[in-house]
């Protein structure tokens, strides 16, 4: 009993620590990356290569006044930033970093992660509604319709993967792919010839789910000022900010697990967990790379993309995979 309790406590602390550290240092990565993409060096002043920037930013945010504007719905206003961070941390619990490093493995891990991920849009809705600001309200309405539009193709592709593997256990899904990189789901052309396309769809959806550019319609700074977090200051804003990056890590982890073979290593040089992290950070780099390359889409462009392109293709892929599984 006590041993399980210690285990759980350790797992929770580790998950929070990993999420917070990643969230903080991804901000640094993003700024550095943005700089490099834009012919400038990014943060350089605090510490070597600006590495002390995240703690300094954090101190700055914490020491600022938390302004609660008059007339806001206080309960929603306060709960929303917590809700932004909390599901992300919870999702880390069941993500397997290697055969042994997993806080708590569940045989319905996929389901749990998506259940928590869908809570993310609740935080945007509450923040936008509670802020009593027209820009925030518009942004939250956008964010919700975006979440709905992108959860569908995302889940359809996940169902495809689950069908191939026959399990919702993330560990089993990875173990199914560890034989070699040709076994990775993204290259599993024999199981379903459209697998690379599914991978792309899943990747695009995770961009949209995490509200990243070019799908950052919730923030849309040139239209809606700062969207749902217009009225937030201090750590309220900080939590939204960190929640966004924690969600990016979750998105990258999931993509790695579902499509890129998790901790499976193509050459076996390093222990599995390093391969896992390498893949995750490569994906995150791509997230940053995309953000600093493209202009933002519009809400109807986004919905068109989802309903007219992603959903039909992923549905077709689902049917094709199901058919192939039945035939062979």
């Amino acid at each position: 009993m006590s041993l399980t309790l210690i285990n759980v406590l350790f797992a929770v602390v580790a998950a929070i620590g990993f999420a917070a550290l990643n969230a903080a240092y991804l901000v640094w990565c993003e700024r550095k990356g943005a700089g490099f993409f834009q012919r400038r060096p990014g943060p350089t002043e605090n510490g070597p290569w600006g590495l002390l920037q995240p703690p300094v930013d954090g101190i700055k945010l914490m020491t600022k006044q938390l302004i609660i504007p008059g007339g806001v719905d206080k309960a929603f206003f306060m709960v929303a930033p917590v809700l932004a961070m909390f599901p992300a941390i919870m999702s880390f619990v069941t993500i397997p970093f290697s055969e042994n490093i997993v806080a708590h493995n569940m045989d319905i891990g996929v389901l749990m992660i998506f259940a928590f991920a869908s809570m993310g849009s609740m935080s945007l809705l509450l923040a936008g509604w509670g802020s009593r600001n027209k820009y925030s309200l518009m942004s939250s309405v956008r964010a919700v319709s975006q979440s709905i539009a992108y959860e569908i193709p995302m889940l359809i592709t996940v169902i495809t993967v689950v069908m191939i593997t026959g399990s919702m256990d993330l560990k089993v899904i990875v173990e199914d792919q560890t034989a070699g990189f040709w076994q990775w789901n993204v290259f599993a052309l024999l199981k379903s010839p459209l697998m690379p396309v599914s991978f792309l769809i899943f990747f695009i959806c995770s961009l949209a789910e995490t509200n990243r550019a070019p799908f950052d319609l919730g923030e849309a700074e040139s239209e809606l000022v700062a969207g749902f977090h217009t009225e937030y200051s201090s750590m309220g804003f900080g939590l939204f900010f960190m929640g966004e990056y924690a969600n990016i890590v979750i998105g990258a982890c999931l993509t790695t697990i579902l499509f890129l073979g998790g901790w499976g290593c193509p050459f076996g040089l390093l222990p599995g967990v390093w391969w896992f992290l390498l893949k995750v950070y490569l994906l995150i780099f791509t997230f940053i790379w995309i953000r600093w390359t493209f202009p933002r889409t519009t809400i109807y462009g986004l919905l068109n993309l989802s309903w007219k392109i992603l959903i039909p293709i992923s549905l077709f892929n689902l049917l094709l995979t199901a058919g192939l599984l039945k035939v062979f």
Partner: protein, 152 residues
């Protein structure tokens, strides 16, 4: 249907090309200067605030004719002078001597009309561009005092 697919394909290609360009920039050398640590050199013609020019004795070239004051669109130059008698070749001559030359830099728009209007080579542009202060009094320059300080 073929239009649908070809649009997806050409669209994806345009996105890939864009990503290629930014990736190339990722590895090219950076163009910015780390400003407080290094800064650009101002060009010879840079128009900063004005400064008096001195002659070989360290006295201002200015003869206090007041042309600059009149040329200034914003009225930021105030100068005062007194008449002194000096001896040149045994004769006493009257000459104007500059006693005060104030520049109110808060309203100056750096147009350079004053320097252009001066026919005695009395004023020039400084190369100073790092002017910052929280008090407006810091931008009321006493150019005569600055000249003396420069010489001492």
């Amino acid at each position: 249907m073929s239009g649908y697919l070809s649009e997806i394909l050409s669209g994806s290609k345009s996105l890939a090309v864009g990503m290629g360009i930014t990736l190339r920039e990722f590895f090219t050398p950076k163009v910015t200067l780390r400003y407080p640590h290094e800064s650009v050199k101002m060009t010879a013609r840079y128009r900063g605030h004005i400064e008096l020019i001195e002659d070989e004795n360290g006295e201002p070239n200015c003869v206090a004719c007041g042309m600059c004051q009149r040329a200034c669109p914003s009225g930021c130059i105030t100068l005062a002078s007194r008449t002194v008698e000096i001896e040149v070749d045994g004769k006493t001559k009257k000459k104007k001597e500059l006693t005060q030359y104030d520049l109110n830099f808060t309203t100056c728009s750096l147009c350079g009309s004053c320097v252009e209007s001066c026919s005695f080579n009395g004023i020039t542009f400084s190369k100073e561009y790092n002017l910052a202060s929280t008090r407006k009094e810091d931008f009321h320059f006493d150019l005569l005092k600055r000249l003396k300080e420069r010489n001492s």
